[in-house]
Symmetry: C2
Subunit: 139 residues, 2 copies
DNA sequence: TTATGTGCAAAACATTTGCAGGAGT
DNA sequence: ACTCCTGCAAATGTTTTGCACATAA
């Protein structure tokens, strides 16, 4: 975990990863980014994609989403915003509602933590899956 | 994904898993539950623990937490509540603040999803880690 | 020229699954 | 008996890592 010592080199691989990520709003997984990037850089390795997504998220260039499901997802939109995940197909979308004000302060009062940020993940059914009359397990 | 057809049998393994989970407030991972349970049932398999945690969370008996980090965590407190995770040590605690009213409706208006629920995950430093003067990467 | 980055492959984790035998009803 | 459940081990899926070579500054 290094400081601002040497800035990250802007390699071709990093540039392409960032460009491809900016193109989409689908919050792709590392493997999906790999597939997108490989069309332009066929010899790139999956390890490189993982390494660079991690580095870029550490430096605040992109966002690493730790939402539900088995894989991490990545987002080129770094402005704080919330997400909704379809419990049927696993798709993740942005929720364009205002960020909840004062919620971090409430949490600070109700815990012994120094609160830095928060994230809200909504769960539901996307338009397509809702149409299929999918019956979720209500609990 | 079956309905309420046959209720789950209350086997010794399931009973012990649930009892151990009720004992703690640490939101243990599957592997931590395995370690706790193994002290009482040395021959239980890790697969059984995973299978039963999954089944119990499907039936609403326990909560599967899909918070940040690499592993899923489990909670015997099923009443809706929020969580805070220490970015330094990874510990997860409850946040005893009221559930945000009307937030699902806001999200429904700002997305094309049928919203079912939401979860808020706060990120910060726990009391112990904050004392250690840990310098987080602010972004 | 030299620190940093890459491709490749193997390793490390986390979780799921197949199956033969075991237990509850 | 019959079904559901378990232990075990192997398989799967995701992410990380070691290392020799490549490349940007």
């Amino acid at each position: 975990m290094q400081e601002e010592s040497t800035p990250m080199r802007l390699t071709t691989q990093r540039q392409v990863i960032l460009e491809e990520l900016i193109k989409v709003t689908s919050h792709p997984t590392a493997n999906e980014v790999y597939d997108m990037v490989r069309k332009r850089l066929p010899r790139i390795g999956l390890g490189t994609v993982y390494r660079n997504l991690e580095l870029m998220s550490e430096s605040g260039l992109i966002l690493k989403l730790e939402v539900g499901g088995t894989q991490k997802r990545f987002d080129a939109v770094v402005k704080p915003h919330y997400h909704v995940r379809c419990i049927h197909c696993g798709k993740v979308n942005d929720v364009d509602m205002p960020v909840q004000q004062g919620i971090n302060e409430s949490a600070a009062q109700s815990s012994h933590y120094k609160i830095l940020s928060h994230h809200i993940e909504f769960t539901g059914l996307c338009y397509q899956c809702a149409k299929v009359q999918y019956q979720p397990i209500m609990n």
